[in-house]
Symmetry: C2
Subunit: 146 residues, 2 copies
DNA sequence: CTTTCTGCAAACTCTTTGCACTCGT
DNA sequence: ACGAGTGCAAAGAGTTTGCAGAAAG
């Protein structure tokens, strides 16, 4: 939410906090929320504040070092995987799975371009039930898959 | 966030508030936020509260009468268009445009199914600049497209 | 009449921000 | 040393919820 020109160019200072935050997100496979990142960074820098983590996550994201994932309600999640990929969200357990970029058929924005839209990127997300949540179909089941 | 079984079956009472909220969302073409819906419903029922609008939007959504659209940060948005379709989000003005379901090539979840995932739906969103925002490329421009 | 819904306001969650101090560079 | 970064705590948005009274079925 700022006026970052083309962005992804500035770097900022290399503080322990920024680097630790970066490392945590890059190492995570579970698309952690800001609070989860905070908890993990704390293992290395116990006194780091949540506000700093938020600030750094923002910085890292606008610098293109990590990605922000917006999937459904709840908190924003962060992703250290920079390559193009898609997501599967389990509606039972909330777990998010990374999927390699669509085997084929990249969405076709040709019509959009023709209509005057400049398309820079797209997001493709699938929703349903993960393998682990298939068995327990009980109408009230809300078990944890991860 | 409740235990709605397969959902979309319950109806609840037909109160003026619920129906007015429904009408507003169905008539809207701009994916309004809860507050915008509230403002519009108020033109018909001046004393309706924001809390009630939130409750009713939730009810309508879980009954399948309207759709919830999650696009980037900021508030949740609501969509009265029930048919399968995609979205284009302008990163300059924030405007959201409905797109008819991908001309062709519906994303291929075959691999997912084979891996044991039960896919029930998917969301495809494009990001970039809408035609109206193309001209004013000035590095600080943040005009309104709608 | 019974049950659900509404209005109001307080509570909550997630995220941002002001300020004084610290630490890269 | 200078200025960006940090910790803390308070402030902000957006959304949810408890309760007493209103209204639908």
């Amino acid at each position: 939410m700022d006026s970052a020109p083309p962005a992804a160019i500035m770097q900022g200072r290399r503080t322990r906090q920024v680097e630790a935050t970066y490392d945590v997100v890059r190492a995570a496979r579970d698309h952690p929320t800001a609070e989860q990142v905070h908890a993990r960074v704390r293992r290395r820098i116990p006194q780091i504040s949540l506000g700093t983590v938020y600030r750094n996550l923002q910085k890292l994201a606008s610098a293109g070092r990590i990605r922000v994932v917006e999937l459904g309600p709840g908190s924003t999640r962060f992703d250290g995987m920079l390559e193009t990929h898609e997501h599967f969200v389990c509606e039972a357990c909330g777990g998010i799975t990374d999927l390699p970029a669509s085997s084929r058929t990249p969405p076709n924005p040709a019509g959009l371009r023709r209509a005057g839209f400049a398309v820079t990127r797209h997001a493709l997300t699938f929703y349903g039930r993960c393998p682990e949540c298939q068995g327990m179909e009980s109408p009230g089941a809300r078990r944890a898959c991860r």
